[in-house]
């Protein structure tokens, strides 16, 4: 535990020495990176030690503020969130050396690193806090630090807008949590977290709804995901990796903690979470498919994956309400494993996307093309991440989705239609998976394959710097490890689920996870097949001529701009989701016998934010200023009239 706390402090303070370093020197950033690495390493050590000891590690010190108490707790549930956190934070710090060097960003580099360390430490504290006040405290610090990361390039209006919307949503969510924890304190009589499955009845419903709102905002569940795409797009790539890989998960973590408190779980909770998950999953991936901004697209995929995770949680909750411990185990371990996996492969994807953006200076997918020749490492890493996020074997994404599928199938064994209908989550997952494959084939193909579509892409001449390559490869290996040796994680998953449900229920958890090694083995076989066939093909076609141009079906002078673009590739699918996306199309009409040069552009704004919320707020603000102009009309007599009326009304009220 001491190691963990030490690591937390190291990470928190990592950016401070840099503040006094030279504006253009490399000393500050190197030191900061070193501190972060040391901090994350020591925190990891602390967590592993706590896991090895078997019992959750506790730390309690008095804190002289009303209701305050420095209570930390490291149990397997928290550990599952902290371990990827440490990996990604450390990796991001190294990545930053190459991606965001101080000499290129003298203006904001130091501030960035300051809040980067702060964010990492705050998240560790969130995940380890065992007291409501401490949790809220670190929760808000995390939100603010993330805000400063999003607005790193505050001279760009886009970043400012993203930062504002993020800050507002984060604060709104936090206020809901204020209420939730205040009610919780009223239930339990103290601000210390109650033990698992110890709460019964009371204002459980309200607690759950408030928690769902507050944590859902952070996690980016579908109607509440509004801050996510713009923030991820605006932040520097390793910050986006942290945001999407880890910060979102704190919301999931909160939801899990909260639900673990209750002894009885009403069935409708599970159903609500399940439905929210399906909506986020399907519409998240559909919106992603419609994007042509690389980082925005990845952000929408975070919504999709959060949806998948929530589907697992929903199934697990249903399992608890109907007392099917197998369902609980499969759903929850699938969700938890997907939390870890998404943390890994989404960070991997953002890192490699960052290397592409760094090289081309653009986030428009349609400006890329043929980058695989210039950036082989980036391409391989992105491919690995893509295969993983599509949930395809042999990478880790498949394992977690497989567990969730099993849970969905298991629901069909339950008695009563109200539970068996949950099996419909499986087709939804299949649809999500299919769409994800489509989306990432599109991204990978349009970005790395074919011919360069723009001068910028053609001019790319360098692959990711070694300091960027290292973290990417590390994450790729981690993804492969979970995908090929999933059995190694089974014990951790079981104990985490055991801490979530009442430990008494944690019997016979081993059986459902038994086939995991076979899944891994299949992955190995697939790899061997592919390698063998590929090698044979390669040898067989080594001396084949490679200087012919692509068969243009008889057209002699095809140009790179004739290639399928991201938008055109996705169009046939997007048009199937017309009802939910409202894609805007401009131009594209061809008139007359000899049409002049026309142009066509399509853009898909966020359905919730840009279509509903912002216009609504504008109207509200207009109404407010109208009212204000009436009330504050600048005339003293009117103001005195208010005084007189108040006096009269209060007198009448009291005289009654």
């Amino acid at each position: 535990m001491i190691w963990f706390v030490a690591g937390m402090l190291l990470t928190a303070l990592s950016g401070v020495p840099g503040l006094f370093a030279d504006r253009f020197g490399r000393g500050g950033e190197r030191l900061a990176c070193l501190l972060v690495l040391a901090g994350t390493a020591s925190a990891t050590g602390g967590v592993i030690a706590a896991l090895a000891s078997g019992a959750p590690a506790l730390l309690t010190r008095p804190w002289s503020v009303p209701g305050g108490e420095l209570a930390l707790r490291l149990d397997p549930l928290a550990a599952l969130f902290i371990l990827p956190l440490c990996l990604v934070v450390g990796g991001g710090a190294v990545y930053g050396l190459g991606y965001w060097p101080q000499r290129d960003h003298p203006g904001n580099g130091r501030r960035f690193r300051l809040f980067y360390g702060l964010l990492g430490a705050a998240m560790m504290l969130v995940l380890a806090a065992d007291n409501s006040l401490l949790f809220l405290f670190s929760w808000e610090v995390m939100a603010v630090a993330a805000f400063f990361l999003v607005t790193t390039e505050q001279e760009r209006a886009e970043a400012r807008r993203a930062g504002f919307i993020y800050l507002v949503t984060a604060h709104a969510g936090a206020l809901a949590l204020f209420a939730m924890f205040a009610l919780l304190a009223q239930e339990t009589g103290s601000l210390h977290f109650p033990a698992a499955a110890s709460l019964a009845g009371g204002s459980a419903t309200l607690l759950f709804l408030l928690g769902l709102f507050g944590f859902g905002f952070k996690a980016g569940l579908m109607p509440l995901h509004i801050w996510l795409p713009i923030a991820h797009a605006a932040a520097p790539s390793h910050a986006s990796a942290l945001l999407s890989g880890i910060v979102l998960k704190t919301g999931i973590y909160g939801l899990l903690r909260l639900t673990s408190f209750f002894a009885v779980i009403p069935a409708w909770w599970g159903w609500t979470v399940l439905l929210l998950g399906v909506v986020s999953g399907v519409f998240g991936v559909a919106l992603a498919l419609a994007q042509h901004d690389l980082k925005r697209l990845l952000a929408y995929h975070s919504v999709e994956n959060i949806g998948i995770i929530t589907i697992g949680i929903g199934l697990a909750l249903l399992g608890r309400s109907f007392g099917m411990s197998e369902l609980t185990l499969l759903g929850m371990s699938g969700a938890l494993l997907h939390v870890v996996n998404h943390g890994l492969f989404k960070s991997l994807l953002f890192f490699s996307a960052g290397s592409v953006v760094h090289a081309t200076g653009s986030r428009e997918i349609d400006h890329y093309g043929g980058l695989l020749r210039q950036q082989p490492w980036t391409a391989v890493c992105f491919l690995g991440g893509a295969v993983a996020i599509c949930g395809l074997p042999p990478f880790n994404g498949f394992v977690s989705e497989w567990l969730i599928y099993l849970a969905a199938f298991g629901a069909s064994r339950g008695e009563g239609l109200s539970l068996r209908l949950a099996v419909l989550a499986a087709p939804a997952l299949a649809l999500i998976g299919g769409l994800a494959v489509a989306c990432f084939v599109k991204v990978f193909g349009v970005t790395f394959l074919g011919a360069p579509r723009s001068a910028a892409a053609a001019a790319v001449h360098h692959d990711a710097a070694p300091s960027m390559r290292g973290p990417m490869l590390t994450l790729l290996l981690a993804c492969a490890w979970i995908g090929l040796l999933p059995g190694t994680l089974a014990p951790l998953l079981q104990s985490a689920v055991a801490t979530w449900v009442m430990p008494a229920k944690a019997v016979s958890l081993a059986a459902p996870l038994a086939p995991l090694p076979l899944v891994g083995a299949t992955g190995w076989v697939l790899l061997i097949y592919l390698a063998g066939l590929g090698w044979w093909l390669h040898r067989r076609t080594r001396q084949a001529p490679r200087d012919v141009s692509t068969w243009g079906c008889g057209y002699v002078a095809p140009t790179p701009r004739m290639q399928y673009t991201a938008s055109s590739f996705a169009d046939s699918l997007v048009s199937q989701f017309r009802f939910g996306l409202w894609t805007e199309r401009h131009g594209g009409k061809v008139k007359g016998l000899f049409p002049a040069t026309g142009e066509f552009a399509s853009h898909t704004p966020d359905a919730v934010l840009d279509r509903a919320l912002l216009p609504g707020f504008r109207r509200l603000a207009r109404g407010c200023s109208w009212l204000r102009a009436r009330v504050q009309n600048g005339r003293v007599p009117t103001y005195l009239l208010y005084v007189a009326l108040t006096l009269l009304i209060l007198l009448i009220v009291t005289a009654r």
Binding site: S625, R628, V636, L640
Partner: protein, 212 residues
Amino acid sequence: MTELSNLCLLLVILVNFFALGSSRLGACIHAVALQGAVLALLPLATHGLSVHTLLLAAGALALKGILIPWLLLRAIREVRIRREMEPLIGFVPTLLLGALATAGAFIFADLLPLIDAHQGGLFIPTSLATLFAGFLLLISRRKAITQVVGYLILENGIFIFGILLAEAMPLMVEAGVLLDLLVAVFVMGIVLDQINREFSTLDTEQLSALKE
């Protein structure tokens, strides 16, 4: 002595109505001066002669009856405004509202239990009525100076109530109250002067640039 004091109080109420109804600033200020003088009588009429009451009466007369009205008259002489043009609420409606307010004051006063010594006295209703009259003046007039007059009348209403407690209250507090009133009006006078310099009018309509 109640008759005498009640007489004075009735006079005060009449002055209220006059102030509400009159459009001529000068007359208004004279009326307030008269009211102040009448108020100066009240302590003596209520509590009989004593050092305390004498001092109080003297102070009231000096300030409410002479000094402040004189200040105001000087002010309007400088500004050369004579009458309150088109008030926010017309004179007749103001009078009606004043009548309503007075009636309300009497009704409200009945809700408040008095000690036997004060039974049958008009103090409470009069003070409340004067208070409301001051408020009405403040709310319904445009000219800054009229509002000062309104503020004075409001203060008079409070003073009337204060007289009830004259012997109970230590002199120092009352002195402070009167002093504060003086300073307040004095500061207001300065501000009025400044306003006049800036805008060359005392019409508060001009004073509504600060709005949303």
